[in-house]
Amino acid sequence: MNGTSRLLRAAAAVWWRDFVAWRKFWRSSILLNFGEPLTNLLALGVGLGAYVAVMQGVSFLQFIAPGLLAVTAMNAVTFDAGFETYDKLNSSGVYAAMLTSPLTVPEIVLGEYLWEATRAILYGAVFFLVILAFGLVHSWWSLLLPLPLILFGVLFTAPALYVAAVARTHEQLFYYFSLVITPMFMFSGVFFPVAHLPWIVRDLIYILPLYHGVLLTRAMVLGQMAPSILWQFVWLIGYAALLAYLPVRALARRLTT
């Protein structure tokens, strides 16, 4: 068996473990990952939207819906990768058990990326059905939504795995959630365009991966695709490539002493 097919088979085995575990709780899991973005959509989109007439030529509800899809996927990935990985390392011993088999840490990490990419697509798809029902989907370009969501499965999973590997308590996971993920959610152009912001704030926002994800999902859902949109892909791919190896060393340090 050559290296690549070995790697993929090993990662698929890790994916399979996560899927079998998820299958037991999928209803509550979908509900949990779904309540918040749906609340945001209704409270802000419908409620606040009544006072904000038009944003970039579309209704406020229309403006925020695709961005909330990106947020749903980001959260589905982040919380699962954070909490589950922390437990797999510290209480259940799932990773320790995997390492008694021929699986290696890089294979486990790749398997988690595959699984979280699956989750991003799955939870994104559920949210997509809701905004479709609201009549907020306007383009066949939406069929390309899985592409950014797959990248989410790497670029948001990687830091969450890393944080789970270095965190000593559950509380430390929340530092990451509330100091990184929540601000990113608020400032990544989900609720307002960033063009009118002071340049320094704007440049900071450009660094946030979610910002590029939001631009992509919005362009796809609204059918506002332009060649420049490829740059958003470059950003996401760049982040995914940059971060992919980050958790491998941290996890190996925890698991092989």
Partner: protein
């Protein structure tokens, strides 16, 4: 609540007894056949694990300080020692779960530092902590684990059924792991370690924390597997466990191997063939020791008990009778590994 076998404790209590042994052997046939480890095939004297000058160093602790040992195919080899002796570090290195700090370690012909993947494909590892997957059922635990080895699903399912029966967990395949008792979890971990039909089963303190019934069941399983030709490597600090299971053992302390032998010869060599325990208040042991004369191999005192070890059975009793010594309370018994262990490693509490 327990299904079939487990509801018949008498059978469990006699691992070598008729019902259990026959039953288990029948269930085990597929395992053995697939392992191809019956005595007709494979060299029983082949050296499957060889360590030379093996060392393990953590940050500033030298846990293993240059040990040599050789484990042969088909035998049960035990690492004995108090907490912190270096047993688990050694066994984690040979399981490729922990990098070798120094020396050489070869497992199944592969160097442990570069052949980890190939080694793990042929090792069944039962870690100290029962790391069964809490989100999965018993059957799922086994199937998912088989998947890690790239085992085809149909084959895995059939083998999982056999192993659940073998470990007396049949009828519970759909149960959640959370519902299991400690003993059942350990049995599930052992079943899991056998999923890929390993050549070597590695057990790190397999019965720590188990009740007597569960211990006997685990011992019975290990003996069955050994009978099928599986090499068994185990650590333990239970002397009766080592005595019952091990063909050969090493006693470790402070990261070094103190003694290596089969249990009986080791006992005879270290503490002779008879132990005489005399209870008396802290007082003068000298009369007893003097009376034992040259029959005495060594003596040991703990609390109110003086233990005299003799190279020949009966000699001390004869000497006492001849000299008119009649201790109020005296027990004559065969020496065991516990005597060896305490003699070699001392009585100081560890940790």
């Amino acid at each position: 609540m327990l299904p079939v076998g487990s509801a018949e404790p008498k059978e469990i209590l006699r691992p070598g007894g008729n019902g259990y042994a026959k039953n288990s052997r029948k269930e085990l046939v597929p395992v053995a056949a697939d392992l191809g480890l019956d005595s007709s095939s494979g060299d029983l004297h082949e050296e499957v694990i060889v360590a030379r000058g093996l060392e393990k160093t953590y940050a500033d602790v030298r846990a293993v300080r240059g040990v040599d040992f050789t484990i042969r195919r088909g035998e049960c080899f035990a690492f004995l020692g108090p907490n912190g002796a270096g047993k688990s570090s050694t066994i984690r290195m040979l399981s490729c779960l922990s990098p070798v700090s120094g020396g050489e370690l070869t497992v199944l012909g592969q160097r442990a530092d570069i052949g980890a993947r190939r080694i793990k494909e042929r090792l069944g590892i039962v870690s100290q902590d029962d790391n069964v997957d809490p989100d999965l059922s018993l059957m799922e635990n086994l199937l998912v684990y088989a998947h890690y080895f790239g085992m085809p699903s149909a084959e895995a399912r059939q083998h999982a059924e056999e192993l659940l029966t073998f470990m007396q967990l049949e009828g519970r395949s759909k149960a959640a792991v959370r519902e299991l008792s400690g003993g059942m979890r350990r049995r599930l971990v052992i079943a899991r370690a056998l999923m890929h039909r390993p050549d070597i089963l590695v057990l790190d303190e397999p019965t720590t924390g188990l009740d007597p019934q569960a211990r006997l069941l685990v011992w019975g399983a290990v003996q069955q597997l050994k009978a099928q030709g599986v090499t068994v490597v185990l650590t333990t600090h239970y002397m009766d466990e080592a005595e019952r299971l091990a063909d050969r053992l090493v006693v470790m302390d402070h990261g070094r191997i103190l003694q290596e032998d089969a249990p009986r010869p080791l006992i005879e060599r270290t503490v002779g063939r008879e132990a005489v325990e005399i209870w008396h208040r802290q007082g003068d042991d000298q009369p007893y020791i003097a009376a034992a004369g040259d029959a005495l191999l060594l003596s040991d005192r703990h609390g109110d008990t003086l233990v005299l070890y003799a190279s020949e059975p009966g000699r001390i009793g004869q000497e006492f009778a001849r000299q008119g010594l009649a201790p109020e309370r005296m027990l004559v018994r065969p020496p065991n590994l516990e005597d060896v262990f305490l003699t070699l490693t001392g009585r100081d509490l560890r940790e």
